[in-house]
Symmetry: C2
Subunit: 241 residues, 2 copies
DNA sequence: TCAAAAGTGTTCAGCGTACACCCATGC
DNA sequence: GCATGGGTGTACGCTGAACACTTTTGA
């Protein structure tokens, strides 16, 4: 359209259907936690010129779904993963980012406990959990997407209690601390960490202990999601680690 | 594509060019500040069924530009505004959000000092600064976009010194405090605010005073962007208001 | 001399940080 | 009895929050 030209409903419809159409995809960085580290789910990429590399899980969005729905559907279709917490992060839109044409992608991340889910290889693309330290050169701009999503995850984990879903319902304080150290990639002081958690008053002491461990058994706790929600509604809550 | 069907390069190209194409737009919430308040730039909407409402400034993305470039171009073309700080916030993607077809939009915001820019009405859509309190019912899902962008702006202003561009180069501490109170929509304590700014050591005392004011003249300061950058690079900086 | 905004200090409570030893259990 | 990880307390410094009066200028 020329600058200053008056638009009408026909020019709009034309433009919507021609000039500016782009393929839209979502790409999802699935972070997985187990007690050995933080990993992400990668699959084989067989699209030229990136054959042989690995990529994160993504696909094109359909015309009858919004992006959140697309992300959920695609992850389920390609890996069997369902009912995940997902968070939209950012659009990646360089015109030449995709070899087969203009594809704008919306990056999402998800965070799960590896043991709770079974990955189904529905497409013979060998989905694998790769430790966050060991990710090599990925297809497309997926390295950039992964690092953007990791930053976003770390910020979120510091500010919201999304980490608790990564632990068993009953967990010890050491498990919790290890979780934060792993996801944030930092070390924390044991005593200070405990005092902090204690001051939040959001853990329920279950009065139970670990069993059959060859050392002093740890006390077990669970997270009080109800109390968290009600405190948050009432306005004042510093969840900040 | 059926689940489990093996993809190849032809199915990909087909899908990229047919099923999943959507029109992509950017919509930009331009926040403008002057000493009377925080405003946003709205234009008349003449697209059915939203004729008569106002809307934020947006348009379709072209195939040869990325989203940041599109946002810059569109704002310049429609309002004459150029060289703005812009920040991508989120995609809005409900399939029926746009009356003329599938349009996924990426929301951006920008923040400027009203006096520094001249708005050019290139399309006879009467661009206007509307106080943030007085925004009525906007076209499309633009009310939702505006409130999402406002939250995002407020978070950014608290954590980064983007507010200083809204003031004259030489400003008083009261002007600075008013700015934060206006943008964040809260009240601040004068003495605590001053102590905080003082402790950051990022203001340069110019040794000058206001003139021709009918009360005690305020001292004037400027913000030390260089020092801010170097402190930030060296790692340790708590800019947090 | 008055109106209007500028400027200034202290106290208190809470929070992050640094740091080292004893405890309970299984083998 | 020893190896292993669990569990605990104190002191210090920084920061945010609350709060009221004096100063300087122009009209």
């Amino acid at each position: 359209m020329l600058q200053g030209e008056k638009e009408n409903i026909n020019t709009w419809i034309t433009r919507i259907n021609t000039d500016s159409k782009a393929a839209i995809s979502v790409d999802c960085v699935v972070f997985g936690y187990d007690e050995t580290g933080l990993k992400i789910l990668l699959i084989d990429c067989d699209m030229p010129p990136h054959e042989g590399k690995m990529s994160i899980v993504g696909d094109l969005v359909r015309s009858d779904e919004n992006l959140d729905q697309a992300a959920t559907r695609i992850l389920e279709q390609r890996t069997g993963l369902a009912n995940l917490y997902m968070e939209q992060v950012k659009a990646f839109s360089e015109p030449k980012r995709h070899p087969l044409g203009r594809v704008i992608t919306l990056a999402y991340y998800s965070l799960i406990k590896i043991k709770d889910y079974i990955i189904v290889d529905k497409e013979h693309k060998q989905p694998k959990w790769i430790n966050i330290e060991d990710i090599g050169d990925l297809a497309f701009d997926h390295n950039e997407i992964v690092s953007t999503c990791l930053e976003s995850l770390q910020k979120k984990v510091r500010e919201h209690p999304i980490g608790f879903s990564l632990l068993p319902k009953k967990f010890s304080l050491m498990q919790l601390q290890n979780l934060y150290e792993t996801v944030l990639g930092i070390e924390l002081d044991k005593r200070n960490f405990r005092r902090k958690l204690n001051s939040l008053k959001l853990l329920i002491d279950l009065g139970e202990n670990q069993k059959e461990v060859s050392h002093r058994p740890a006390k077990l706790y669970s997270f009080d999601f109800e109390k968290y929600d009600s405190k948050r509604k009432k306005g004042k809550l510093n969840f900040e680690l």
